[in-house]
Amino acid sequence: MGIKLLLGTLAFGYIAVFLLTPLLAVFVEAFRNGADAYFAAITEKDAQSAIWLTLTVAAIAVPLNTVFGLAAAWAITKFEFRGKGFLITLIDLPFSVSPVISGLVYVLLFGAQGYMGPFLDALGIKVIFTVTGLVLATVFVTFPFVARELIPLMQEQGVSEEEAALTLGATGWQAFWYVTLPNVRWGLLYGVLLCNARAMGEFGAVSVVSGHIRGLTNTMPLHVEILYNEYNFAAAFAVASLLALLALVTLVLKSLLEWQFGDSIASSRRH
């Protein structure tokens, strides 16, 4: 009993110090100057445009990576071909790349002194320091989320149901829409949820390509940084508290999915 209590206390203490207090600090600091200051900070013009931009970027990047995830999972799990393992490793690659590097690669391609910079300049197209750059960097960091959720799940489900549907006269598209998709819907939702959380919260990658232009290329995490560096702490924490809320909502939905549909989510215990 003694050792049990000791280990339990240590584990709780560790989680309390390293997880609970930072989360608590966000909300306490956000309301340090009262509720009026809090609401002023999150309804102020630059904050509003940062919120809007974060939603826009996620609304473009998440569907792109969802379509990719579905296509990649279909090709990888419904067919046998050479080099499959290598392809899966490549899909996972962005997870092991520093967020800063994820932004850097696009600057090297599209920046003023990038490989395609002069060419794009001649065409009048700007990528770096624009929303396009933010979307690209976000796509890079959230690239594997949907695919790596769907691949093990669809692998497990095999091809027999699709083959049955095809034998019964379904087209390939019908087999996908009426057989595959319903089978993977919870796993897909799970992947999209995690992808979205990362897309909205990404900092390092977008920070490199954004240029931090207030009202134009400033997402919520970048806005938090600007306010913080201006010593406007309460406002920084107010905007941060919205992102912390997003994280909490994500955790709740994620746990609900795991509890309700744990069997149909492949990586609920894997990251």
Binding site: L7, G8, L10, Y14, I15, F18, L19, L20, T21, P22, L23, A25, E29, F68, A71, A72, W74, A75, K78, F79, E80, F81, L87, T89, D92, S96, V97, S98, P99, V100, I101, L104, V105, V107, L108, L109, A112, Y115, L136, F143, V159, E163, L166, G172, A175, G201, F203, V208, M220, P221, V224, A240, L243, A244, L246, A247, L251, V252, K254, H271
Partner: protein, 280 residues
């Protein structure tokens, strides 16, 4: 099959399921455009400095100090998480207590919380006038704006990896094994080291390696608490940002490539760890 059919080399097995061409084609094209070509640009760019130039960039004292800090602090953080992550996984799997599910779900917070938010929250806690910082200052411990602050931030973001790697292996382990060991006269310590530890070792190492790999490249949660003093508390990813701001693209790419190569070697190591774990 009595006779042997010699088949030509084929890229893929025949299948009645349609859609390989379009899904494979799209997936590979998208992967190439978004990930592979940009990464190739990163690996190509430094060489305009020449071999000697790249070497000079990567071995400059400030760069070496940053790389040393990034890898050293990541190692320290993953060691802390290896110990406490195992402990948390153990408590979550073996003990029954109210609120267990909530605590379990909460472990994933560092995955869900944006890194910049974590960064400013940790600064609020550990700054010299912060929640913890003021008491730590009294006993002479400085966390924020020192390498210790970097370790704290990296411990936060790496926390879930070990827990989530070890947890499934622990919960699948048959308790009978431990009971058998106990009946055969093993002490608790012996049971732990001789029965439990060998079973969870691959998953444990994998989790620690994943936490390490993530920590090495981490940026958002670190820069607020680190203070970013050159040669002291400046991490490698920040150095890339600084070089970019000075329009030193090749230098930034050189540091980035060095980090990428080291990360890639680690990814290979993690994959072989996981393959080893599957075989056992």
């Amino acid at each position: 099959m009595a006779h042997v059919v010699r088949t030509a080399w084929r890229f893929r097995q025949p299948s009645v399921i349609p859609g390989f061409g379009i899904t494979f084609g799209f997936a590979v094209a998208y992967l190439s455009l978004v990930i592979l070509i940009p990464l190739a640009a990163l690996l190509l760019r430094p060489w305009e400095l020449g071999l000697v130039g790249v070497w000079e960039v990567v071995t400059a004292p400030r760069v070496l100090a940053a790389l040393k800090l990034s890898f050293g602090a990541a190692l320290a953080a993953s060691l802390i998480n290896a110990v406490f992550g195992l402990l948390v996984a153990w408590v979550l799997v073996r003990y029954r207590f109210p609120g267990k599910r909530i605590l379990d779900a909460f472990v994933d917070l560092p995955f869900a919380l944006p890194t910049a938010v974590a960064g400013i929250a940790l600064s609020a806690l550990y700054a010299p006038n912060g929640w913890f910082g003021q008491y730590l200052a009294e006993i002479g411990v400085k966390v924020a704006y020192t390498p210790l602050g970097v370790v704290v931030a990296l411990t936060f973001i790496g926390l879930p990896f070990v827990v989530r790697s070890v947890q499934p292996v622990l919960s699948e382990m048959e308790k009978e094994l431990e009971e058998v060991a106990a009946t055969l006269g093993a002490s608790r310590g012996q049971t732990f080291w001789r029965v439990i530890m060998p079973a969870i070792l691959p998953a444990w190492l994998t989790g620690a390696a994943l936490a390490f790999a993530r920590a090495v490249g981490e940026y958002g949660s670190v820069i607020f608490i680190a203070g970013n003093l050159p040669m002291v508390s400046e991490i490698a990813p920040l150095l890339i940002v600084i070089k970019l701001e000075q329009f030193d693209y090749a230098g930034a790419a050189a540091v980035g490539s060095a980090m990428l190569v080291i990360s890639f070697v680690m990814l290979l190591a993690i994959n072989s760890l996981q393959a080893w774990a599957r075989k056992r």
